[in-house]
């Protein structure tokens, strides 16, 4: 599903060069649930940015879902992000002026889908995270856990191949955090690949594979659970 | 607390020099434009005879001898010689004066100098106290001089300089057209913006250079240079009569009559006097139309005759709206300025400052910039007024027609504070409404 080969990301500040990712290589199978841990400054965020095509990289190669996405233009990267990737952020990143419906709607608009199809997808995704009764609420009217669920719905509505989650439970209390993890597990069970950055070892352990980043390099910790390579029957019906 | 807030405001200005400069310039522009046009309106619309505008009344009657007069909205604006004479003689009002303008040739005492033409006004002596005319040397002639008439004159400061080298000209003589006049008074520099005594012909014009008794009109065969209206053509044989008789018979309306009536009772008394005068004249075959006597106070007459050009009012109104728009447009700049330091505000709030304190602190900053911008705006308005003055003309002594006076400076200050408030209230409210915690975590 995802293959990074000796990817190097360099930040230049004046005369100083920082290699945030050094010769970073990673392979993730379709349907895998991978967690990534690491200390501050280890390159976790950079990895997310690169793998999510939020940022370009200098050296190496990156294949995503069979496509070489190493040197894409801004517009092409946007399209791939929109169609293949879904993001879940630590601080939810919901748009405060929009209600739940409109928030989930945002990525669908960029895909130029028709109004009826968008409505169906949104309502389905919001139902999936259990917030159908809050369709017209604003983020300010929701708890942290509910907001993150909306963010997940936003991802689900687009039916991506890969979900990148950046400390999705970092701003939540343990009760809500567990709920979110349950939802993520469910989503993964239906066939979506998930790569999650986290600090929480309990959550990290729920993955198929734990990886560790240090100094911009990958350290493979252990395979936790056996992971079958093909699970077509649990793919969600998607377009 | 105010001083503290002012210090904070100053520090904030220094930290964002570009934004602050733009804000100040924006306010300066708004205040400058509005002060310019409001001052222009104020100069033209303010009371032209402070202290006397309540007691001075302008007299009009409808002596028009034909059924259709060219005056749509009321009686003719001026009176005929014979009617004015009668009313002046009657002694009913405490003070009264009638006048009309002309132009005559002045022959300087030094025969070698070239004669020149000057504007002259023929008046009665009450004119001077009624219109608060300021004297430098000497004073008005007395009423007996009006009756004869005596060859006395009051001259302007500029004319005095020209004829007598600036020294006291009282007692000296000069020739006006065909006879000599003795100077009894020299006026101070006098340039009222609105000449209350001549609102019909040229209210914004300059005062005349020479004032002589009204009764000289006949003996000197003076032709008025103001406006004249008549409904009556001369009859055969009239051309050969003496000028003064022609004046009386002629029914030409060319004189403006003002009376001083200190209270309402005397106004009523004068009005009934006019009514009986008109009734008498009707019996003599004059005043054929419906009586329409008007006794109008100064300020009402100003409004009725539209002495203040309507465009001046329009520009004043538009410029005030301009100020509002200019201030609105500064809201974005203030927002940018305030919210850039939201974290500092967060700290202050965490340290115990209430929302009101923060609001006041920022409002002080807005008003400080308002005042700074306003001062700059006042300077701009001086430039604007200078441009207006080029068209309206300076006075003979170089005193500009439009000038900023104390009330207008206060108005400018009020406008600056208003602009600061309009531009700043919403941003100040925004910054103080933010919960302290939000910006404390800012990275």
């Amino acid at each position: 599903m995802l293959k990074m080969d000796n990817v190097t990301k360099i930040y230049r500040m004046g005369m100083v060069e920082t290699r945030a990712l050094r010769d970073f290589s990673l392979e993730v199978e379709e349907g895998e649930f991978v967690t990534i841990t690491g200390p501050s400054g280890s390159g976790k965020t950079t990895f997310l940015n690169v793998s999510g095509l939020l940022d370009a990289f200098e050296q190496g190669h990156y294949w995503l879902d069979g496509m070489d996405v190493s040197r894409l233009s801004d517009r092409e990267m946007s399209r791939v992000r929109n169609e293949k990737i879904g993001f879940i952020f630590q601080s939810f990143n919901l748009i405060p002026d929009l209600d739940v419906f409109d928030n989930v709607d945002v990525p669908l608009r960029y895909r130029r889908l028709g109004a009826r199809e968008r409505k169906e997808r949104i309502e389905r995704a919001v139902a999936q995270v259990g917030l159908s009764s809050r369709l017209r609420h604003l983020p300010s009217q929701l708890s942290g856990g509910q907001q993150q669920r909306v963010a997940i719905a936003r991802v689900l509505a687009g039916d991506p191949k890969l979900i990148l989650a950046d400390e999705p439970t970092g701003n939540l209390d343990s009760g809500m955090a567990r709920e979110i993890m349950d939802i993520l597990e469910q989503v993964n069970e239906s066939g979506t690949t998930i790569i999650m950055v986290t600090h929480n070892p309990e959550h990290a352990a729920r993955a198929h594979r734990q990886l560790h980043i240090a100094d911009g390099r990958m350290v493979d910790l252990e395979r936790i659970a056996p992971f079958p390579l093909n699970r077509p029957e649990s793919r969600q019906a998607a377009s | 607390m105010l001083l503290y807030n002012l210090r904070l405001a100053w520090k904030s200005v220094r930290r964002h020099p570009v934004l602050s400069t733009l804000i100040v310039l924006g306010i300066a522009l708004g205040v400058g434009v509005s002060t310019t046009f409001i001052t222009a309106y104020h100069v033209l619309a303010s009371d032209p005879v402070p202290g006397k505008s309540g007691v001075l009344h302008y007299v009009r009657m409808n002596s028009w001898g034909l059924p259709d007069s060219p005056f749509r909205d009321g009686p003719p604006p001026q009176l005929a010689y014979r009617d004015v004479r009668e009313i002046l003689k009657s002694g009913v009002p405490a003070r009264s004066t009638a006048s009309f303008p002309s132009r005559m040739t002045v022959f300087p005492p030094n025969a070698k100098e070239q004669p020149f033409r000057e504007s002259v006004r023929l008046i009665t002596s009450d004119f001077f106290p009624m219109f608060n005319v300021p004297f430098r040397y000497g004073g008005p002639w007395d009423r007996s001089a009006d009756a004869k008439p005596e060859a006395v004159a009051v001259i302007s400061s500029a004319l005095n300089d020209r004829l007598f080298g600036g020294r006291n000209g009282v007692g000296r003589t000069f020739r006006l057209d065909d006879r000599d006049f003795r100077v009894v008074g020299v006026l101070d520099r006098w340039r009222p913006r609105v000449r209350a005594y001549d609102m019909v012909v040229d209210p914004l014009g300059e005062p005349e250079a020479v004032f002589v008794p009204l009764e000289w009109a006949g003996p000197m065969e003076v032709s008025p240079t103001g406006s004249q209206s008549t409904w009556r053509s001369p009859e055969p044989g009239e051309e050969d009569l003496p000028f003064i008789d022609r004046l009386v018979l002629g029914e030409v309306l060319f004189i403006q009559l003002w009376v001083e009536l200190p209270d309402q009772a005397r106004v009523a008394a004068f009005e009934s006097y006019l009514d009986s005068y008109v009734a008498e004249q009707k019996k003599l075959g004059r005043f054929p139309n419906k009586p329409d006597n008007r006794v109008t106070p100064v300020l009402d007459l100003m409004t009725e005759l539209r002495v203040v050009p309507p465009q001046t009012k329009a520009l004043a109104a538009i410029s005030l709206l301009f100020l509002v728009v200019a201030a609105l447009n500064l809201i974005g700049l203030f927002l940018g300025k305030f919210l850039a330091r939201a974290s500092i505000v967060g700290v202050r709030r965490a340290l115990g400052a209430s929302r009101w304190t923060i609001f006041v602190q920022h409002l002080v900053e807005c008003e400080l910039m308002g005042l700074v911008g306003g001062s700059l705006g006042v300077l701009l308005s001086l430039g604007g007024l200078a441009i207006l003055n080029r068209v309206y003309g300076d006075g003979p002594d170089g005193v500009a027609f439009f000038q900023l006076d104390v009330p207008m400076v206060f108005a400018a200050i009020a406008l600056s504070l208003a602009a600061g408030a309009i531009a700043g209230i919403y941003p100040a409210w925004r910054i103080c409404a933010i919960p302290p915690a939000r910006h404390l975590k800012n990275q």
Binding site: T45, L48, N49, L54, D55, R75, S78, R79, R81, E83, F87, F89, N93, I95, P96, L98, D102, V106, P107, R109, Y110, R111, R154, G158 | G26, F37, G65, L66, D68, P70, T105, R117, D177, E221, S223, R232, S233, E239, P309, P310, Q311, K313, A314, L315, A317, F322, V324, A326, L328, N329, L330, I331, G332, G336, L339, Y392, Y426, R430, K441, Q443
Partner: protein, 403 residues
Amino acid sequence: MEFGPIFRSLLRNRARVVVIVAEVALTLAIVANCMSLILDTRAQLARESGFDDDHMVLVRSNPFAESLNEEEVLNQLVDSDLRTLRALPGVRAVSNTSLEPWGQGGSITSVRLPGTRGEPLRAQFYSADPSIFDTLGIRVVQGRGFTREELEHGADAGPTETLPVVISKTLADVAFPDGKAVGRELAFADESQRLLVVGLIDRFYKPLGAAADRVMLTPGRTVGFDYGSSYLVRTEGDPGAMIPRMEKALLGAEKGRFLRLRTVPEMREEFHGRDRLLVASLNGVMALLVLVTSLGIVGLTSFSVAERRRQIGTRRALGADKGDIVRHFLLENWMVTSLGVVLGAALAYALNFGMVTWVSGARLSVPVVAVGALGLWLIGIASALGPALRGAQVPPAIATRNV
């Protein structure tokens, strides 16, 4: 296009929307009214007199020497002045007349058809000599001008004699709607004297009360010791350049008088002075207003874009490309500006009503409001372009930065 979500998000940002809408609406209201006043005033300023203004000089002569205080002497002086002026090279025509194009003063009289009652007609009334038409540069289109005999006789005319007059076509059309004016008679409103129409001119405009384009010219000398006399001189070239020579020649002929020579263009400038100032002031205020408002929109939009950096990053992360971001902000701005323009049009009419009723102004016409609305609409959108483009540059990676 995401009208729905943008509209709903605008509803939650009421303060910012209200400010921009108020800015645009007020600006349109003021600009439309200013424009209206300007057009109205300029229409008046543009009216032509119909004369050859650019080549005319007005000469006023006021005698002061006692030797001149005699009718015959003054008459001879007028004739001599006319000869002196005509003899100067560069002078095309001279006329002795009381008509002062673009002067502050003038005279109006009332006339009627003899024997009729009712409202008299008002017209300007001036004396002139036969060369007035050449001097003004107008033609007598029907009938004839004046003869020398009529001019000479003018001074001795009795008060009840019929005066010959040349009138303007506008007056003729009102007095004689059947089109036959020449040869007919008018009378002064008090029926004291008759006026025989001998000719018509088709061009005349001198702003004076309600009779700006109606005139009656009668042959006669304009002369007197008190009022002096005036001459209109038509020159070949630049009239200003001729003035010193004319003054010298006239003073050379007679020193006991004051002369004032002004070019007609100069008089027109002075006559229009206040109106021109008004137009200039209005133009200035309008330009400043538009500038200030567009800067204000730029400022507020920049601020609101900067405030939403995180949101922009998130949208980008969700798949928006730069074009989508620009379109989003432009669309948002378009909606607000459009609302402002619609309100502004309504406000313009309200303001106009207020101005016309209590202050002064010209009625608004639809084209003025439409042009103003379109212009402001374009400016509003253009002002948002810069901040929108800057917003599009926000990198997607901002979304993953931690708060």
